[in-house]
């Protein structure tokens, strides 16, 4: 790394952003500490996560597998990490019901993380023999190659429940429409705003944006994790206030009369 002699300690152009980020983090941390001290916030029901049990139970009753797709991005994407969190919950429920869980992945690191997560879930539910690493397999990094495999697996195996939790792009609709065609109960979660309408149109439940990131705290039920959600909401309320203030100021400015221009001095010929 080469550091220029004129490079300052802080980037002055991003000072405001730094302050906002620091305030956000402080608010989230303060809420976490408050929750740990006993002020645990009440979280509204997230139907998409509540439906996990129903979906896995349905697959078990029908004797058909469950398909979990953790998106097409690597572990450096927060959506993939959030997807693996939900996978751990789905795997725990599937292990309890002794249902078959298939997890095709498009990244090798995700395969390793998913295997760790599913194995831990099987151990926690007291079903270590249920875990089969071959069910969590790497397919391809190629976006449409992966989508083709997943669509083919749906047509062949006819899973009764399909989960799409992670980062998706154009393949989202290919997956969701194929799942819809085989009559599977479908639960999706992503923060890719361009793909949300497709999931909403084709899936039974969709975790939209922040709901998806709240999944890990919601599922764990741990007070300190739930506290971070309250911190998020406080910051969101503050942002809303700033937005309303900005709108009022801009509107007032738009309707206020133009200030009289300074009279220009006559120049003598």
């Amino acid at each position: 790394m080469v550091l220029g002699a004129d490079a300052g300690f802080m980037n002055p152009e991003k000072m405001l952003l730094c302050v906002v980020l620091a305030a956000t983090c402080a608010c989230i941390l303060a809420s976490m500490v408050a929750a740990r001290a006993g002020r645990v916030p009440k979280i509204r029901r997230i139907t998409g996560l509540e439906a996990v049990e129903e979906a896995v139970g349905r697959a078990t009753e029908m004797g058909r597998p469950i398909l979990f797709v953790p998106g097409i991005q690597d572990m450096d994407n927060p959506m993939t990490v959030a997807g693996i969190t939900v996978l751990s919950r789905v795997a725990g429920t599937a292990a309890r019901y002794d249902a078959t869980l298939d997890v095709p992945v498009s990244r090798s690191l995700v395969m390793q993380a998913a295997r760790e997560s599913v194995q831990a879930a099987a151990l926690q539910t007291g079903q270590p023999d249920w875990y089969d690493p071959e069910r969590i397999r790497y397919i391809t990094d190629e976006q449409f190659g992966y989508a083709a495999y997943a669509a083919g697996a749906m047509a062949r195996d006819k899973p009764a429940a399909c989960f799409y939790m992670g980062c998706f792009f154009a393949e989202s609709l290919i997956l969701a429409e194929n799942g819809n065609a085989i009559g599977a109960i479908q639960i999706a979660g992503t923060a890719e705003t361009a793909q949300l309408p497709f999931f909403v149109a084709s899936c039974d439940y969709t975790l939209i944006g922040e709901e998806f990131f709240a999944a890990s705290a919601y599922l764990s039920g741990a007070p300190d994790q739930l506290g971070t959600l309250r911190g998020q909401d406080i910051v969101k309320a503050l942002i809303a206030l700033v937005l309303v203030f900005g709108v009022v100021m801009a509107t007032t400015d738009a309707f206020s009369p133009e200030p009289a221009s300074e009279p220009t001095a006559e120049v003598a010929p």
Binding site: M1, V2, L3, A7, G8, F9, M10, N11, K14, M15, L17, C25, I28, L29, D76, P78, V81, I84, T85, S88, R107, S108, L109, Q112, E116, S117, Q119, A120, A121, Q124, E134, R137, Y138, I139, T140, E142, F144, G145, R156, L173, I174, A176, N180, A191, V200, A201, S202, G209, F212, F213, A214, S220, D224, Q225, T228, G231, Q232, V235, K236, I239
Partner: protein
């Protein structure tokens, strides 16, 4: 012990990425962290490739339904690997014309380039084109006027659809200038710029806060599900 090390790496990496936009001195560190991740991902590809080979070989040896596809997958895997690693058909780089392997494996004219251009691209384009039909079927289901909300959605979709085609201009182009805001092409722009942007921004603000909150949980080790939980 190994879990503690993993959490420490996560904390250090997360903090580095967090401060890098604000501290010029940390920009290089963030690039280093990204490079380490890329190296790790490249090494992990061996595991992925191994998993792919194992699954396909097992299917092939079991001779179950569809074993022919497994054979084809294995063949494509081996041929592409050989062509890429062996730099088959690669022309030497002009800077080192005497070194036969100095060109890049995906240079124009190489076998790898040929496979990508004439096999991969048409296949992926075909699959992408199929999306049009999936969009039509999803839209057909989503736009059924079952209740007030669905009817509003249907009406909005029609305005956008007509406003973004020449039909919009033909249908409402006769409106006088004082009512030009009601022309379908202008209505479509208003819907996209005002309503759609407002909704999108609300979701994006929520996502940004969700990412910040998730980042804090991961860095502090509160959420360890990606490491297999507390087991």
């Amino acid at each position: 012990m190994s879990r503690s090390i993993a959490l420490l790496i996560c904390l250090m990496g997360g903090l580095t990425m967090l401060v890098s936009p604000f501290l010029p001195m940390a920009t290089g560190w963030a690039n280093d962290v990204t490079d380490w991740f890329n190296i790790l991902a490249a090494m992990a590809f061996v595991l992925g490739g191994g998993s792919l080979l194992k699954v396909q070989l097992m299917r092939l040896s079991a001779r179950g339904p569809g074993w022919g596809y497994s054979a084809l997958t294995l063949l494509a895997f081996i041929v592409t690997l050989w062509v890429g690693l062996g730099k088959v058909g690669v022309v030497a780089d002009p800077s080192a014309p005497t070194v036969a392997w100095s060109g890049k494996p995906d240079d124009e004219g190489s076998a790898f380039w040929w496979i990508y251009l004439y096999v991969m691209t048409p296949i992926t384009s075909t699959l992408f084109a199929v999306l049009a039909f999936y969009v039509a079927s999803a839209a057909f289901r989503a736009f059924r006027a079952k209740n007030v909300e669905a009817t509003l959605l249907l009406a909005t979709a029609f305005v956008i659809l007509l406003g973004r085609t020449f039909a919009g201009v033909v249908l409402t182009g006769w409106l006088p200038d004082w009512a030009s805001g009601l022309r379908l092409e202008n209505l479509a722009v208003t819907i996209m710029d005002v309503f759609n942007t407002a909704g999108n921004r609300a979701i994006i603000i929520g996502i940004a806060l969700g990412v910040a909150s998730t980042g804090i949980r991961l860095m502090l080790g509160l959420d360890r599900s990606y490491l297999g939980g507390d087991a």
